[in-house]
Chain length 368, copies 2
DNA sequence: CTGAAAGCGCTTACAG
DNA sequence: CTGAAAGCGCTTACAG
């Protein structure tokens, strides 16, 4: 061993195991550490051939940047955070997050950034999680999902000095860019579809009114119902299949006569509602039309297949990540609106029965 | 401003924004930085009252450790990684991961550790992801899920010098502890259940044979079939609802007579299979019994509700994380076996029809 | 165009 | 029991 290796051997570790540092590159290339850093970061002020030589030796040594050191000196984490605050079973039943994260990842991996994910039960644990993520300096910014009414996370994130992007527009002032999908358009299209099929008695099974997107879908439902001169029956739930089933039982047992169509605020509830209807001896869509939201993979694989509203969730994730990274890099960013959610009509919706439905009546299925 | 603040003001930033460092604590407590570090880390060699004073001033200044600095000097990331390498739609349809990650999180948050999550499409991108996670020094170890036959990640992770824990036992030598759930017991219980109901023609819709847990479930099926003197028809899929549906169509159209029961290797496929059967005019469970695996939230909310195999996925995540953290801390760890998967019998399984099933036949449902 | 030095906020031998 | 110093691997003014 040449004596120049002496220092890296200090720990008694095999040289092969030791990672090359810029000091190694500098020594081998015969320049200073600072110059190596400049060359590696494509900064001006390094002679062309010097740069070449530095890059070559770095490659030869298999050098790669140590993010810990980089982070410490640049005061950046090169990572963003996502905090999921829903009851575990609701997160699990909803394919939104895995798809969304896959989209986020496509953007991050190319940019050398990492995603740190935290799952918490809703409540004060949530704020603590954001707080420690920031205090530990693990992330540069967060993606705020599941925006709530008067969401206190906006102020918290601002106080913590993190960058952020919100999924959808908050209901109050926000210093953060919003990346949104117009899901109201999806609800409106659903209503048009049902009205066109002759439905006049349509109910909505909504998500929690504290969640902005659930409230938005509900308002779109109510607006559309009003526009068509229909009553707007709404049952609120927590987005779970269990409460979706309960809401359906409630609606089907309604003394005022059960609705001929139910618009659910997500797919898991619609699937649970479908089962409740079938169990009650109703045929879907002959006796009852049903629609979901988010166009889960399963939607086209149940019987009857489920009419649902599709959004490009992965694209949403990718754009949200891109906007957040731009924000972190202090680049100017605008609010972004993604293509509106669109209705995918399938078998679970059809013409309203002309008479009160009978269990034995045969009628050709129409619609999608 | 006293002149002792001069240095922290160098950037022209408001003092309120500046985070307290151990240097600040040391100055205010009148000791050296080293001593502060010792006191804060509960190391011996600090006088009782000195320690008190240091802790008090740290609290007063709202000091919290900067993980970047800590990481750089200790050569640890205080974070673990999870790389999801499945097609996005399969990850999305399978509630395993969100639940698993919630379990992981319960363990990590208490230990001041973070989870960095990467989602990749299977293939060479996967290895690159592990590689850069390690080279960037972002994580100390990984949880290896979805073990494959002859899984090359074992060697890769070892080469990268990362710690790891595997979900289930690899099929070859592994230096890493395994945390396993005996899902074979679940399959065996399913078979016992079906045989007891009189089924003699049982098929299995398996996951990819390259995936160890899919292969394990399949082998358990075949063993159990053999033990009962039954033929073991198996159709292999990629775990997706789409292929689950296709496999079901194939089995129902089988020239040798269709099976009276189908054991699916996961719930999404079972749900898709249920729809295929219903679409073909078969009544489940009267004409065909169906079972799933993993006991998805939706299993109890479809009609008929789905007999499935339940495992405590969240506990699995928590234990896996705990074992991994112990490994990273160089504590001795053993392989861990969690309670065996157990069958949850519901409506989708019942007595085999005594005659070849007729579409109009009425027979009281029995079983679960 | 290039070098030498200080600094990011911690930890950890090494001396007293 | 305590202090002063070096080091982790980078980046970045500051001089030449």
């Amino acid at each position: 061993m040449a004596e120049r290796d002496a220092e890296t051997q200090a720990v008694g570790r095999a040289p092969a195991t030791a990672r090359a540092t810029i000091a190694d590159v500098a020594r081998l290339a015969g320049v200073s550490k600072g110059l190596v850093s400049f060359a590696l970061n494509d900064r001006p002020g390094v002679g062309a051939e010097t740069r070449e030589r530095i890059l070559a030796t770095a490659a030869e040594l298999g050098w790669s940047p140590n993010m810990r050191a980089r982070s410490l000196s640049t005061n950046r984490a090169f990572a963003i955070g996502l905090v999921l605050a829903r009851e575990p079973d609701i997160v699990a039943a909803d394919p939104f997050f895995p798809t969304f994260m896959a989209g986020v990842e496509t953007e991050l991996s190319g940019a050398g950034q990492a995603l740190v994910l935290a799952t918490v039960t809703p409540g004060r644990q949530e704020a603590d999680t954001y707080r420690s993520l920031a205090l530990d300096k693990r992330i540069d910014g967060v993606i705020l999902s599941d925006l709530r009414a008067g969401d206190d996370r906006i102020a918290l994130i601002e106080e913590l000095g993190l960058a952020a992007v919100t999924l959808g527009h908050p209901d109050a002032e926000s210093p953060f860019p919003a990346v949104s999908i117009d899901d109201e358009a999806g609800v409106t299209a659903t209503m048009e579809h049902l009205v066109q099929l002759g439905h006049r008695s349509i109910a909505h099974v909504a998500g929690p009114s504290t969640m902005l997107h659930a409230a938005r879908r509900r308002r779109a439902f109510e607006r559309s119902a009003a526009a068509h001169g229909l009553a707007a029956r709404v049952v609120e739930t927590d987005f779970s299949a269990t409460e979706g089933a309960a809401a359906t039982r409630h609606l089907l047992g309604d003394a005022d006569g059960r609705p001929t169509a139910i618009v659910y605020s997500n797919d898991p509830m619609a699937l649970a509602g479908l089962a409740v209807a079938q169990r009650a001896g109703l045929s879907v869509p002959r006796d009852l039309s049903i629609t979901g939201f988010d166009n889960t993979d399963l939607a086209e694989h149940v019987y009857p297949s489920l009419t649902s509203v599709a959004t490009d969730v992965a694209a949403w994730g990718a754009i949200a990540a891109r906007v957040l990274l731009a924000t972190i890099a202090s680049e100017p960013v605008d609010n972004t609106d993604l293509p509106a959610a669109r209705l995918v009509a399938r078998e679970s919706t059809s013409h309203v029965p002309t008479l009160t439905p009978t269990r034995n009546g045969r009628r050709a299925r129409s619609g999608a």
